[in-house]
């Protein structure tokens, strides 16, 4: 039984990953067929998992309503709107009928950048609080932040050309160097992590604690 529960799935994981990796390097039409099938299967199985989310969300808000938790009318509103969106989406033509697109274009489309735009406030208040000449590290960060802020404000280069030139240069050289080094580091870590999972030595995925 233990094989069906733990080792089996782990070996299955490794086999699936092995086919996908090999297919990237070796030109063989059979392998490509297998890899395409696996990719497609993962898309389908992954789509099924969204049900877990919807069940979880529905349970939480139903509970809020039944137990009359504070602000429970909001939970009711959420469930109704979820139901409406789903029904609107499922009326044929699937996902492109008038009501569904109306909801998408008039609720989703403006709210997405609205929430995104909150970051503009947070990024400035974080800078105000964190970027102080506390020590050399933070001072350097502050210095380069200021250079780039002044470079990106159109008035900076227009009134004082060297700031534009300096700003361009730090973006081209320093930023490139740091990003590239970190990308290399992250890539190596990810590869090694993946290989450890395939060899079954990593705790966590299906292995649990202990």
């Amino acid at each position: 039984m233990s094989f069906l529960r733990r080792e089996g799935p782990l070996i299955f994981t490794s086999v699936v990953a092995f086919f996908l990796i090999i297919e990237y390097y070796i030109a063989n039409s059979q392998l490509t067929l297998i890899a395409t099938f696996l990719n497609r299967s993962a898309m389908i199985v992954g789509a099924f998992l969204l049900g877990f989310g919807i069940i979880n969300m529905t349970l939480i808000h139903t509970k809020n309503i039944i137990q009359r938790k504070p602000k429970w009318p909001f939970s009711l509103y959420l469930l109704i709107l979820l139901f409406v969106t789903l029904v609107a989406g499922l009326i044929p033509p699937l996902g492109s009928n008038y009501y569904y697109l109306w909801l998408f274009n008039n609720i989703y489309t403006p709210l997405d950048p609205a929430i995104f735009s909150l970051i503009a406030f947070f990024i400035i208040s974080t800078a105000f609080r964190a970027l102080k000449i506390r020590n050399l590290e933070v001072s350097l960060m502050l210095l380069f932040t200021v250079v780039v802020i002044l470079r990106n404000a159109p008035i900076g280069p227009a009134t004082f050309p060297p700031i534009g030139w300096l700003g361009d240069w730090v973006i081209i050289s320093i930023n490139t160097g740091v990003q590239r080094a970190l990308n290399l580091v992250v890539a190596l870590g990810a590869i090694a992590y993946g290989v450890r999972i395939l060899l079954g030595v990593e705790r966590g995925y299906l292995k649990g604690a202990g």
Binding site: L49, I54, T126, G189, L199, Y205, G210
Partner: protein
């Protein structure tokens, strides 16, 4: 029939050498190997402990991606780290909540919480704390900010692949007076974590969590291989740029073979 595709031969050789190297180092590594400190990982206990003292919950989120695309490694690493954090919570009696964006990780989160609590001899794990907030980046951010203000956790862990929402969570965390440990492999978000979080786990340090926290001899050995990979990269870059200064591009040609 089985011929290598064009332009990936050297990559393939590097990958094979890397895997073999990892296998060998995992076999030969011994106990007591030196390992650099990672402050973010040392801080896990402290943060949970502080939450217990203050009588406030702990909040954990494994990033915003699932497990079927190229962001699988950071997400799985975040779930590994979740099992450690959950175990500390179980031991110290802290109340843990998990916020999820991609429903793909829900079974894994559920299982790792359950087993973490079982490992501490507790049958009942906080199932209600696992919440799927929303499926897209900013709907998730919106719900996450509201959850943080509502529950006022004293410790926030945001680990895994993340994007712009990092700073929103970090700034709200500061507003409610939470201690924050953040870690990601998404290089673009590291500046904000550095500025806003109490502890940042940089880049591939999130993958080292298992080796670092469990001092597992095998995984430690595999980290040695990563170091060799970094040394290899440094060496090739230095030699390659010196050679290309003199107009010799043989290394580039080999690597592009």
């Amino acid at each position: 029939m089985f011929s290598l595709k064009a332009g990936v031969t050297s990559t393939f050789i590097i990958l094979i050498v890397f895997v073999i190297g990892m296998y060998i180092y995992m076999k030969i590594s011994k106990k007591g190997m030196y390992f650099r400190r990672i402050p973010g990982l040392d801080a896990l206990e402290e943060c949970v402990g502080r939450a217990v003292e203050m009588g406030r919950p702990v909040q954990y989120s494994p990033g915003q991606k699932g497990v079927t695309d190229t962001n699988a490694p950071p997400t799985l690493a975040a779930i590994t780290m979740l099992s450690y954090v959950a175990q500390i919570c179980a031991r110290k009696g802290a109340n843990i909540g998990v916020s999820i964006m991609d429903a793909q990780v829900m079974p894994l989160v559920d299982q790792s919480l359950k087993e973490a609590y079982l490992a501490e001899g507790i049958d009942q794990y906080p199932k209600d704390g696992i919440q799927w907030l929303a499926p897209t980046q900013f709907s998730f951010a919106a719900a996450m900010l509201a959850r943080l203000r509502r529950e006022k956790p004293a410790a926030i862990f945001y680990i895994g692949h993340c994007e712009a929402e990092t700073l929103m969570i970090a700034e709200t965390g500061i507003e409610i007076g939470a201690m924050q440990v953040m870690g990601t492999e998404a290089v673009a978000q590291l500046p904000f974590m550095t500025a806003a979080a109490d502890y940042t786990i940089y880049g591939d340090e999130i993958y080292a969590a298992d080796a670092y926290l469990s001092r597992n001899v095998k995984t430690m050995g595999s980290l040695r291989t990563i170091d060799l990979g970094k040394l290899f990269a440094m060496l090739v870059i230095i030699i390659g740029s010196i050679l290309s200064t003199f107009g010799i591009s043989i290394l580039t040609q080999i690597l592009k073979w």
